[in-house]
């Protein structure tokens, strides 16, 4: 009987021109955005692959050089793009995806597409995630605002209720009808999206990303279920279909436009970050303090049991450079941790917003699973920085143990190839799920709460007129 109700709801939707137009638009946008995402992913990935090979090749073939010069020559590290980033580009636009690893300095990330974007970008990107997070809920509202209120207005609800059908079955049938209507739209899109994923990634990385894809699908379904529940609740309670629509559009605007703005402003006010200029000023100040060169000399001489610098069995330059690195690293670790902790505090505060606006929770989960959120940017940055230190230590170590000769010491490919290539592996899905536990929990609560409310409203509060 429930399936009969769902079938009839879908039949009505199929015959409703407005629904056809609206879903054609949403489906079109979804496919276009997936296409754009796919094209970007493929081209960026190819560029990364080329650049990665090139930077390694350049490093290996830099010729004979003093190891410290080689450290200055440096290498580039590229944040790998997950195939799922074609669904959600997340913070990549703003954080950047490439960093130059060189001696002395922990550099800022480069290649931030947001920097090159024009003001149109303020209206938001056309990504599959924005279609799924904003437009699909709007479609759900349009599909279901009149579910009960419209039938009450037209009078069919009286006839329907006089049939002696249990109201919970009616509510479930209607919810499934909306789900079915949505499925007609999302199932093809999901199939095409998955095909794009398979095409975009080699088989290994596709399989590796399956858990992320599964969790992402599940969390979007929870998000949609919440909207179906909310829409049916309002439709059952509202006096008229028009009032139901107004209320639901109000919630949609709050969820999609007002709440993100509000929580981002609040988070920035509560957890202030320094301006880029102030941050680098402070960094320079701290770095300039330097370390005590004389004390280091004394310490090294004592360590090797000699009384003069000339008598040292090792090259002091290597030791001094290493000490310089260590001091710099200390400063970088302190200042970057402070800055990144602040960003994370901002993010956490924004995630609290998921209590009143499910979008805030959904956005966080979606970015996390796409590997484009701040936490994974930080994870990559830390890995790249660790590698920079490994590389510098290798150079300085070699310099320290270099033979004392008249001319400048030169190292060659033997040393360069001792430094392994930078390889970064994205965190396991469990790590991401741990980071997103709060938001995922909120999505579950929204879905259960909203569908429960709809059941309650339809069984206890639904009036025949």
């Amino acid at each position: 009987m429930i399936s009969q109700i769902a079938k009839k709801e879908m039949l009505e939707m199929r015959r409703d021109g407005r629904f056809q137009v609206a879903s054609a638009i949403v489906l079109g946008l979804l496919l276009v955005s997936l296409g754009i995402g796919w094209q970007q992913y493929v081209s960026v990935n190819r560029q990364h692959e080329m650049a990665r090979a090139e930077t390694r090749e350049q490093w290996l073939s830099q010729g004979k050089k003093n190891p410290h010069s080689a450290a200055h020559y440096g290498v580039y590290a590229f944040k790998p793009k997950s195939p799922l980033s074609l669904v959600d580009r997340g913070a990549d636009q703003y954080t950047g995806v490439a960093v130059w690893l060189e001696a002395h300095k922990q550099n800022e990330f480069k290649y931030k597409p947001a920097r090159d974007a024009n003001t149109l970008a303020r209206f938001g990107d056309l990504t599959a995630s924005s279609v799924l997070q904003l437009l699909v809920p709007l479609l759900i509202i349009l599909m279901s605002f009149s579910s009960f209120a419209g039938e009450r207005e037209s009078g069919t609800l009286r006839l329907l209720l006089s049939m002696g059908i249990a109201r919970e079955k009616l509510a479930l049938g209607k919810a499934l009808g909306v789900a079915g209507g949505l499925g007609m739209l999302l199932v093809p899109a999901a199939l095409i999206g998955s095909a794009a994923l398979v095409l975009a990634s080699d088989s290994g990385s596709f399989v590796a990303n399956l858990p992320r894809l599964g969790w992402m699908t599940a969390s979007y379904l929870l998000y949609f279920a919440a909207f179906v529940g909310i829409s049916l609740t309002v439709s059952a309670l509202a006096k008229s279909a028009r009032l139901a629509l107004v209320c639901l559009l109000g919630f949609w605007i709050f969820n999609g436009l007002a709440a993100p703005r509000l929580f981002s402003d609040v988070s920035r006010t509560v957890h202030r970050t320094p301006s880029s200029f102030a941050f680098s000023q402070r960094m320079d100040g701290e770095l300039k303090k330097g370390f005590d060169g004389e004390a280091l000399k004394k310490k090294v001489m004592a360590q090797y049991g000699v009384t003069s610098m000339e008598a040292l069995p090792v090259n002091f330059l290597g030791i001094s450079l290493k000490a310089g690195e260590d001091h710099g690293n200390e400063v970088y670790d302190k200042l970057y941790s402070e800055l990144w902790d602040t960003f994370e505090a901002q993010n956490r505060l924004q995630q609290q917003g998921g209590v009143v606006a499910p979008l805030m929770a959904m956005r966080s989960v979606s970015m996390g699973l796409s590997g484009t959120d701040f936490a994974q940017f930080r994870d990559f940055s830390v890995a790249a920085e660790k590698y920079r230190r490994v590389l510098n230590d290798a150079m300085n170590d070699d310099l320290k143990n270099s033979p004392k000769t008249e001319g400048p010491y030169m190292a060659d490919e033997k040393l360069w190839s001792k430094v392994p290539e930078f390889a970064y592996v994205m965190p396991e899905v469990n790590v991401v799920l741990g980071q997103q536990a709060w938001s995922l929990g909120l999505l579950v609560l929204w879905a259960l709460g909203a569908t429960g409310m709809a059941g309650w409203a339809a069984t206890r509060r639904l009036r025949a007129e």
Binding site: Q4, T156, R158, L159, L161, S162, M163, R463
Partner: protein, 234 residues
């Protein structure tokens, strides 16, 4: 089949229905007459359990509608004044949907078409969208639903308002046929002529009270109008 015992409904200080006692037996057509606001629709809504009585009981087939809401609805069919169906569905699709919900299982198509022939829906109309139907045609669909449901009692709210005389005549033939098959029919109406023609008994209501019940074979058309007006004047 239909039974009201001391049935009352008030909204605050306003009394919509005041101590109604009524019984409609199988095969009987009981017509409730009265001005707007006399309590006719309230009575029907109470039998449908769309509203809760302030006091008293409404019973269908011996069961209290308030405590056995779903069970009692199995025995009844309801035809509202504004017969509304799903506009974008065809007559047959509407019948199929409601008949399935009412009986809890799918009803095979030939049987549904059979019901539509029985209510005399013009041939071919069942595959047209209901948005093209007249009220009389929509009503026929709802009667077909009642037949498919094999309802033991029928609740009709102003069924003939807005029907042309021919459609009105067809309609009375249909409900007489249903009554002939043993269906108990409670009909709220303004149509004194139809009430006299079709009804077994008529009840005259005013301000929530059932003032008088008459057997239709005991008086003529003119008498009914006179008695009715007398009740309205005092």
């Amino acid at each position: 089949m239909l039974q009201a015992i001391g049935l009352s409904k008030s909204y605050g200080a306003q009394t919509a229905l005041d101590g109604l006692n009524l019984e409609v037996k199988p095969g009987e057509i009981f017509c409730l007459l009265g001005a707007n606001g006399a309590g006719k629709t309230t009575t029907i809504n109470l039998f449908l359990n769309f509203i809760e009585p302030t006091s008293g009981l409404a019973k269908i087939n011996g069961l209290d509608v308030a405590s056995d809401a779903l069970e009692t609805k199995k025995y009844i069919a309801y035809i509202p004044e504004q017969v509304s169906l799903y506009k974008n569905l065809t007559g047959l699709e509407n019948l199929d949907y409601f008949a399935t919900l009412a009986s809890g299982a799918a009803v095979e198509k030939p049987r549904l078409v059979g019901y539509l022939r029985e209510v005399d829906l013009p041939s071919g109309a069942e595959d047209r969208k209901v948005s093209t139907y007249s009220k009389g045609m929509r009503q026929k669909i709802v009667i077909a639903i009642a037949m498919a449901k094999q309802a033991k009692a029928l609740l009709l709210d102003e069924p003939t308002s807005g029907l042309d005389p021919k459609a009105s005549n067809e309609f009375s033939q249909l409900i007489r046929k249903l009554a002939g098959n043993g269906t108990a029919i409670l009909m709220a109406t303004h149509d004194l002529f139809r009430a006299k023609e079709d009804g077994s008994r008529v009840g005259i209501m005013r301000q929530g009270r059932l003032r008088q019940v008459l057997n239709t074979d005991e008086f003529g058309h003119a008498d009914l109008e006179r008695i009715y007006l007398e009740h309205m004047h005092d």
